[in-house]
Amino acid sequence: MSDNRTPLGFTPNEMMTIAASRALKNDDVCFVGIGAPSAACNVARLTHAPDITLIYESGTIGTAPDVLPLSIGDGELCETAVTTVAVPEMFRYWLQGGRISIGFLGAAQLDKFGNINTTVIGDYFHPKTRLPGGGGAPEIATSSQQVYITMAQSKRGMVEKIDFFTSFGHGEGGDHRKRLGIDTAGPTLLITDLAVWKPDPVSKEFTVVSLHPGVTRQQVQETCGWVVKFAEVLDETPAPSELELKTLRDLQARTKAAHEGTGKGKAA
């Protein structure tokens, strides 16, 4: 694996994962979605947040996997966890109980208010594409104290209007959550492969607050399906440190080796 896949020495996806990892604190209790959130959470654990509590919906609490899980229920998660509970308990005592500080989600379709669709493309009853659905996300989105979202930008993914409200973000914006009686903060951070976004305090529309190194406003707009708002003062995301990059790449290399190792000699 090369350290120089881009002129900058890191890929946009690596920047995304590392920027997301930095948002997590040592005392966070994080409900981890699979994919990009999982990588970010484990990089955080392996760098600046060694005591972070990672929870996967399979029931594993306080887990510390050496490789990234392929699914939310890998054996590695259980073996390294503080405790492993049944799934009803996970959703009742731990998520609904209000114990999760950060719910970390990916998205197939996202709108500017942080509403997520992972259910269908097209009409629900006559879908063009049937996606896997919500899984734990509908309640992660409303029971976690805050929600972080991470996804690679694309016009197909970041859209003006999502086809289905799998998980509720800020709805139509403003105080829509409060009007529905939802007392948690909802999406407070979006990390893409190009930028860091935060919701406007009033309208709740996601606004770019930081561009990743080398990224232009135009690139962000061209890969987003809505008219992008930028903060008045726009930061540049600090580039990944050597430690961060090495940690992420080592983790991914271990993961690749481990997952291939269980196949029948065929390439995964």
Partner: protein, 285 residues
């Protein structure tokens, strides 16, 4: 009272055309051998219940056995979509299929309520979620103390539940350990429960008292099927066959390739074939 039976007989005695049935396992201990036996016996018009329908429900749906599916995540874990399920939902192939969709919280609470003998589960869920608008089985009750409106879903009470577990003792008590998922609830919620196990041991006398043990009188039949949850894994016995999950994506993408694979790997095979499938995965467990 529990009977130890060959899998063929355990499935034949407990599953019927038209049944509502749960083959449960939350990424771990998936009862593949039992599902394949049900496919070989060719049941029809099943209502398939599961939080995370994966390969086995893709296979049963692709074989036209399901009239309805109740689920909360219809994906191939860690890989992507389930292409036979998609074909049924999007194109009605090989037959149209009715869909009842929940969130994980909804399904987990519904199983819990089923195990608890309640008609419905009450929890805080589906707030702002689109599912509440498309699923008429998502309703509400009002807390008589605070006035808060809570979600309610019907409890899940399958005619039959199938699970795979690590071991039984000779009396027929069953141990599930590791990621225990929803298996205890699936068994206790069902009218009848069938369990495949990796092995039978003399007694459970040395087990810690607080482990998840299902007493023998909660189970209708036990079949010993080593490797019976391949390609998923059995904590303490063998690792997940990740390659098989990745391969499935290709197999299920094509209707004819799917049929050929099913013929070669399910129809013309039996429960005894599972042990060999996990041989190379035992070291990694």
């Amino acid at each position: 009272m529990v009977k130890f039976l060959p899998l063929k007989q355990a499935v034949a005695e407990n599953l019927n055309n038209g049944d509502s049935v749960a083959f449960e396992g939350f990424t771990h201990l998936i009862p593949t051998a039992a599902a394949h036996e049900a496919i070989r016996q060719g049941f029809r018009d099943l209502t398939l219940i599961r939080m995370t329908p994966d390969l086995i429900y893709d296979q049963m749906i692709g074989m036209g056995m399901a009239k309805k599916i109740v689920f909360s995540y219809v994906g191939n874990p860690g890989v992507g979509l389930l292409r036979r399920a998609r074909d049924a939902i999007e194109n009605g192939f090989p037959r149209p299929i009715e869909v009842e969709e929940h969130s994980h919280a909804g399904m987990a609470n519904a199983y819990e309520a089923g195990a608890a003998g309640l008609p419905c589960a009450v929890f805080r869920g589906y707030r702002g979620a689109g599912l509440a608008e498309v699923n008429p089985n998502i309703r509400s009750v009002t807390c008589p103390f605070t006035g808060e409106v809570l979600a309610a879903v019907p409890s899940i009470r399958p005619d039959v539940s199938f699970i795979h577990a690590q071991k039984a003792d000779r009396k027929g008590n069953v141990l599930v350990e590791g990621i225990i998922g929803i298996q205890k609830e699936a068994v206790l919620a069902a009218k009848r429960a069938v369990v495949t196990v990796e092995e039978v041991v003399d007694t459970f006398d040395d087990l810690h008292p607080n482990l998840t043990v299902l007493p023998r009188w909660t189970i209708a039949a036990i079949s010993v099927v080593p490797g019976g949850s391949h390609p998923s894994y059995a904590h303490g016995y063998y690792a997940r066959d990740n390659a098989a999950y990745l391969e499935w994506d290709e197999i299920a993408a094509d209707r004819e390739k799917f049929q050929a694979w099913m013929k070669a790997n399910v129809i013309e095979k039996g429960a005894d074939d599972f042990a060999a499938r996990v041989e190379h995965l035992r070291k990694a467990a």
